[in-house]
Point group: C2
């Protein structure tokens, strides 16, 4: 499908001679000014991508030929997009957007309406619960994957807005050192523990729950009065005899898309207060509406997805660095790594045929300016070009700043962001080969005013939709994750070997596993 569009052929022809940004006169102030779109307070500046008007036209044509916008609308309306035709698959709607469709202008399609009604009910439950339980000072979230990376990234991003004396902790890894390190620092009597598992059966999460329950009991604290379940309705964890409260999630919200469901809501509303948390939802909802309504040329996540496809499939670049010039977004790339790589790291299309092209790239990144003193060396002068997605903000979160030599720290930060974008594009000629910079490193900047709860919600949704658009255009299923199963099966066999050594009568024959255990 993707490779059989007319736009694909056109783009392939165009990719044999992409614009040379190092050429004198190629990157002008006019180009920087006109290669830019704006919506919801976000500017996307893409003059430093290796595209010209022809390429952009062809990319937008690709979006049209692959019905990207129609699929986004269908997704938000609750159509069953999570499936592989002709094979056993999850067969589900994909309705994370309904989790924040709780304001005006709601979707009216029945599946979407039902989902947003459910979301509203949980939000009301949560608001009431928090009013009734204001005495707690700490909250431990136990979850892994989508129940950890997204919430953790948002929590760190909004630390500047946390209420004083509300502290958040996370336990995710089955490594016992993870739980032990957190438990050193909390007083069980004042601590809520939120267990997050949609199925109610996640090995790491249930293990850590038991670990923490035992520790609470050992200090004379009754877990029943401190533990909260975030889980599927009727899952094994949906059990009022064991939890102070249960909040629900559903199979139409995938783990990596669940940060605005109760998975992120309980922790964020506890730390920020309910009203500030609602701003996160508002920001995400506005981006949802924009993503399904704006035409390709003016659609922030769609245009961003198209540049990604240009760099991946036509300029043949296998990785993407996401670099926020904001220390608060320290763990946001780790969330995006999951979101993108778990969604689009697929080798078959929606009809089950192997894809004859590259799908999801490796996504990685760390905040700037830090990265400039680290891996930027390779980005500037390594043998492989790496496309970059920069994120920046005009203002800092905290009001305090200091002017040194006529510029504030925030101005220094922004100067570095703009300078890197230019340096990567234009490079530098030199007689000394060690001072030669090849340039033509494609990059773009997403610029907003300030990282607030609302902006963060919009930024989160921007990336969710960028990823979904790329999946729509590649015609792959961005919403399942069959690739995690095989490891689970083999881990179970090796666990069988460990337990058989202690509880005879459970033999497991797995010679490859036994070969590893000899090293223990």
């Amino acid at each position: 499908m993707f490779t059989r569009t007319k736009a694909f052929e056109l783009l392939q022809a165009l990719s044999s001679h992409p614009i040379d940004l190092t050429h004198p006169g190629a990157l002008t102030p006019e180009r920087i000014g006109s290669y830019s779109i704006e919506a919801l307070g976000f500017h996307l500046l893409y003059g430093t991508e290796r595209v010209n008007k022809e390429v952009i036209e062809a990319l937008c044509q690709l979006a049209k030929e692959s019905h990207a916008l129609e699929k986004m609308r269908a997704m938000q309306a609750g159509e069953v997009l999570n499936r592989i035709e002709g094979y056993e698959s999850e067969n589900r709607s994909v309705l994370h957007t309904a989790m924040r469709d709780v304001f005006d202008e709601r979707q009216t399609a029945p599946a979407a309406k039902d989902a947003s009604d459910r979301a509203s009910r949980e939000l009301h439950k949560l608001k009431k619960f928090l009013e009734e339980t204001d005495g707690y000072t700490d909250l431990i979230q136990i979850g892994i994957g989508g129940s950890d990376l997204g919430p953790r990234a948002l929590c760190i991003a909004l630390q500047a807005f946390h209420k004083p004396h509300k502290k958040i902790h996370f336990i995710s890894n089955v490594d016992p050192d993870d739980a032990n390190a957190v438990l050193k620092n909390v007083d069980p009597k004042k601590t809520l523990v939120v267990i997050v598992s949609k199925s109610g059966t996640t090995l790491e999460t249930l293990t850590n729950e038991e670990f923490v329950r035992e520790r609470f009991k050992a200090t004379g604290v009754d877990p029943k009065r401190h533990f909260i379940a975030v889980t599927g309705e009727k899952s094994p964890m949906d059990d009022p005899s064991r939890y102070l409260a249960s909040f629900y999630m559903w199979d139409f919200v995938g783990g990596r898309y669940s940060a605005t469901s109760m998975v992120g809501a309980v922790m964020l509303a506890f730390s920020l207060g309910y009203d500030a948390f609602e701003e996160v939802l508002k920001g995400a909802h506005e981006m949802d509406v924009h993503a399904r309504e704006a035409e390709p040329h003016h659609n922030l996540p769609l245009l961003s997805a198209l540049f990604g496809i240009w760099n991946r499939n036509f300029l043949k670049l296998p990785t993407v660095a996401v670099i926020p010039y904001s220390q608060a977004l320290l763990r946001f790339p780790a969330h995006l790594q999951q979101l993108d790589m778990e969604s689009n790291g697929k080798r078959i299309d929606k009809e089950g045929h192997p894809c004859p092209f590259s799908t999801g790239p490796v996504i990685w990144g760390e905040p700037g300016t830090n990265g400039q003193h680290s891996f930027y060396q390779l980005i500037h002068q390594g043998t492989d070009p790496i496309p970059l997605e920069f994120i920046g903000f005009r203002k800092s979160q905290y009001p305090k700043d200091l002017e040194i030599q006529h510029t504030t720290s925030q101005e220094k930060l922004l100067s570095n962001l703009f300078a890197q974008s230019l340096a990567l594009a234009i490079g530098q000629k030199s007689e000394n080969p060690n001072k030669f910079f090849p340039g033509n490193r494609p990059n773009r900047i997403l610029l907003a005013d300030q990282l607030t709860p609302k902006t963060l919600g919009a930024l989160l949704a921007f990336y969710e939709h960028k990823v979904a658009f790329q999946g729509f255009i590649w015609n792959i299923n961005s919403f399942d994750q069959e690739g995690v199963q095989l490891g689970k099966v083999l881990a179970g066999k090796i666990l069988g070997l460990f337990s058989a050594s202690k509880a005879p009568g459970k033999p497991t024959s797995f010679p490859l596993g036994e070969a590893y255990l000899k090293y223990l």
Copy 2:
């Protein structure tokens, strides 16, 4: 040089038909048992790499033809390896190994001996300083790049061994939110502040220093009695009138190799106590001796470097994921990202010729089991194979663990590590294309007993030497970083635009920069 070795030709021939690990009978318990070496308590298990005995022989021949061991010995003896022949370059020795060559069996070459004598002097100063200043509860380290990522990774890795009531904080980013977030949580009266900059001129670090000085003064605390300099002897920061103490670093220790110099020492000795910190140095020193003495077949970092080259230059895989199955190593991949990508992200060889082959790959990673619920989807079922380097430990750091269904959390962690290594190699056949795993994802495991200060020191040095060996074999300079300069120059120009707008009389003509400023 690299492409003109006999081994290169041989390896290229062998790479046309690498072993198929998915073939029944290819990956046997015997292979797992015999494709393994052990030294200093570390096992390197490489049965799941796509190599056979012929490939390993050819790789070891490559090491010999490129004089990898001789160069490692020359480096540790203090030869001037940081240079490009025929062009202006740094022209320095590379003596981070001397920073821990402070025990028996010292190097006797004059340059190395002089460097280790200097290191000993600083260590004695540090020990005495800490005895005299025991009252402080908190330490803020201000630095960026090598003065931040390595120390931060080590600090987090050893949190289980920190003295109670000694807390460490880091400020790195010029983003004012970074400093503000840290300053919220410390009491200046009880806090030491360590400023780390070899040149004494790093923009971010000096800016943050002033930021924190102002805040200390505002609370009535005299910075002179709290601030410590870690800097080059005679740098602008080597100024007793402004600092309580100065500890020295030298130009023969690169930032990304400086974690065992005073750059990491002050913070680690403060938090762990001096004796436990010395264990880090001992572990690193033992690995230094191993790296220069063990023959290629039995040399942990050299063999690891060779597998890296096999995957990069012969199997043509552009990235490497480093996955520690240890939550304590959460930020270790970020350190390795800098170490490897800044060292080997180079496009010219040591004679200034463009390299006609790929050098340093993109290095990225997050701890397991967390990654299994995130980007592993792409690693198992994406379109591009990604080589993995796993790190594991037999025991957890904290003694407390809990047995659930006959296995402890630590056993669950190790089961997952071994299971993933196997699953990635052997894959899975299936009629359902979505349950098909192609396998042949090359990976290896570095397994040690427990993550202690000593093991961590050895692990740090293992990676320093793996990176250096790859650079030696590629014949590139792994010790400079010209690629950071261009960004600094352009950032300076844009900063000029900001300050000109406030302090007229400093005009800067930079239309590209002005084009960006219009978005502010």
